[in-house]
């Protein structure tokens, strides 16, 4: 139900983003998707990879501190209004979204995939299921990609 996500702290200066990407590249690890949150002074890089444990080891080896959290992969129809509808369910239930970002899937699938970090993940999962929203298993999500 939950997908492991790696987070890194980045200072806001040149070269900071490249270092983790380089480390993963050297280990032949493909970044499936990422999101970057930033303030004027620092940023948080969030990464999704196939083998999160190996990626974490690689990043730690490179001297970085890595935080592992779980995000919820959700599939919605690839059409106008689908996301607004999904967010409507959450709003009605009074559930907050910490952040979300897209997960690229094959366009032929007719679906779009999103990764959600909810304030209260367990509650959010219940609400989504009740409303018939398709919450993906990590394997199902990765299969959609390619």
């Amino acid at each position: 139900m939950m997908l492991r996500q790696l987070s890194l702290f980045l200072e806001n200066r040149p070269g900071q983003l490249r270092a983790p990407c380089r480390a993963l590249a050297d280990a032949g690890i493909d970044i499936l998707t990422l999101s970057l949150a930033d303030t004027a002074q620092f940023g948080i890089l969030r990464l999704i990879v196939r083998d999160w444990e190996r990626a974490r080891a690689v990043l730690q080896q490179a001297g970085m501190v890595v935080n592992v959290t779980e995000v919820v992969p959700v599939a919605i129809a690839d059409r106008a209004g689908a996301l607004a509808e999904l967010l409507g369910h959450l709003e009605e239930a009074g559930l907050g979204v910490e952040y979300m970002y897209a997960f690229p899937v094959r366009s032929a699938a007719g679906q779009a995939a999103l990764l959600f970090r909810f304030e209260r993940p367990e509650e959010a999962l219940q609400v989504l299921r009740l409303r018939g929203v398709q919450v993906l298993e990590p394997e199902g999500l990765l299969a959609l990609r390619a």
């Binding site: 996500q5 987070s7 900071q16 620092f42 890595v66």
Partner: protein
């Protein structure tokens, strides 16, 4: 925590001397102390330079006419240049640990030793020690004043001593377990080590039966007190002393724990701004400066301890009237003056502790790009505090920002930096980079 002692016993009625009477006693003793100190060539010369006639010295009102004494002055008169009595009058010699080379010796007459035992007894009784107790002393016995100093204080109370001394911690755990003393005397960091070793041996440190811990010899924090009390199941008390003045017994906490009561009938305490050498108001940190009022063998006048702490003089529920010394928050050598305000790295550390529970690596950078000082505190993110949520990271920074301002009284910019990026040095971590005077050594 055990319940408060209803009687709050004092070892010596002098601990409750009314402030006016205390001041009169200090005034009288100070005059005698100056007369005694004049037997030391260093003081005879310094008093003469300042036009102070030891026989006609005006007491407390003229305190600021007396010379200050530094550790370097003592070193310059190695080994026993500060003796005010003939060698034949000595009863013992101790020494402070010189970090490099020679120790600084401190000498005692028989009467000094007697006074000292009484002062240590005050501290121990204030912290719950009673004649029926058994006390485990894990301080080193030797030149260091800790072992013998506490030992004779315990005997003065009438309690029993286990002179375990330092080292061989598994054996210390065995002694604690088999003899079941009520109190443990050592440095706070060693007490934590004892708890750790006990756990390593499969024993619950809280089950050793200890009730009190009397800790001193190094600065420690309230957080550490909480740990010690929880892990060992004790009430932990802080005490303070330094060999140049006498050793342990200069100040100690009572069970109200609102600071360490200073034995002001034996030590005159001033709290001075290390930069201006003027007194700071009560409640503000400054350098502790002591004048021994009763020492015979080696009196010191206005000895600069370089220890920084604040003093409170309001009434204490225990009835003791001695000024209450707060925790040692730093060394005067570490002081920074930022926009005219004295700031100690330990204050920043305390602010970080309040926010994070344990102190992360940090670096204070001070610069003066224009006419104003600017201070930046770089704080390494600890793995436990790394979050994927920006909200939490920003809130962490804001809380640090707020606490630093609350503790130091000035605003310093807080920068979170990536873990492991601040320079580590093998010895003491570098905490300050002052660009106003170029990089500090070490």
């Amino acid at each position: 925590m055990a319940s408060r002692d209803p009687e709050e016993r004092c070892h010596d009625p002098a601990e409750r001397l009314e402030r006016g009477a205390l001041r009169r006693l200090q005034d009288q003793r100070l005059r005698q102390a100056v007369a005694r100190a004049a037997a030391v060539p260093f003081y005879a010369a310094a008093l003469a330079r300042r036009g102070v006639d030891p026989a006609g010295f005006g007491g407390l009102d003229e305190l600021d006419r007396l010379p200050l004494t530094t550790k370097q002055d003592l070193r310059d008169h190695y080994p026993l240049g500060f003796l005010a009595v003939p060698r034949s009058a000595l009863a013992r010699i101790h020494g402070s640990s010189g970090t490099t080379g020679r120790p600084t010796f401190v000498a005692y007459t028989a009467r000094d030793l007697d006074t000292w035992a009484g002062l240590v007894a005050r501290v121990l009784v204030a912290g719950g020690l009673r004649p029926e107790h058994l006390v485990h002393v894990a301080f080193g016995y030797g030149l260091f004043t800790g072992g013998f100093g506490l030992h004779q204080g315990i005997e003065r109370v009438g309690a029993a001593v286990i002179p375990a001394a330092g080292g061989n911690t598994p054996r210390q755990v065995m002694l604690l377990e088999d003899l079941r003393p009520e109190a443990l005397v050592c440095t706070p960091s060693y007490a934590l080590h004892v708890a750790e070793v006990a756990r390593g041996l499969g024993k619950d440190p809280a089950g050793l039966g200890l009730r009190f811990g009397h800790f001193g010899g190094e600065p420690w924090t309230e957080e550490m007190r909480g740990e010690l009390e929880r892990q060992l199941g004790i009430e932990a008390f802080n005490n303070y002393g330094l060999s140049e003045v006498i050793g342990p017994g200069v100040a100690g906490e009572c069970r109200a724990r609102g600071g360490m009561h200073v034995a002001e009938d034996h030590f005159l305490l001033e709290v001075l701004d290390p930069a201006t050498l003027r007194p700071v108001p009560d409640g503000r940190p400054g350098e502790l400066v002591f004048t021994t009022l009763t020492r015979e063998a080696m009196p010191v006048l206005r000895y600069r301890t370089r220890d920084i702490a604040a003093v409170e003089r309001g009434p204490c529920p225990c009835g003791r009237t001695g000024a209450r010394l707060g925790r040692i928050v730093g060394r005067s050598d570490d002081m920074l003056v930022i926009r005219g305000v004295n700031v100690y790295p330990s204050q920043v550390e305390e602010a970080l502790l309040r926010v994070e529970g344990t102190a992360p690596h940090y670096l204070i950078e001070v610069a003066r790009p224009g006419t104003m000082d600017e201070a930046v505190v770089k704080v390494e993110i600890r793995a436990e505090n790394l979050s994927d949520e920006m909200r939490r990271m920003v809130s962490l920074r804001d809380r640090i920002d707020h606490e630093i301002q609350a503790v130091t009284g000035i605003r310093m910019a807080v920068e979170l930096v990536a873990p492991g990026t601040l320079e580590r040095s093998p010895g003491k971590a570098r905490r300050v980079l002052d660009h106003r005077r170029g990089p500090a050594p070490g």
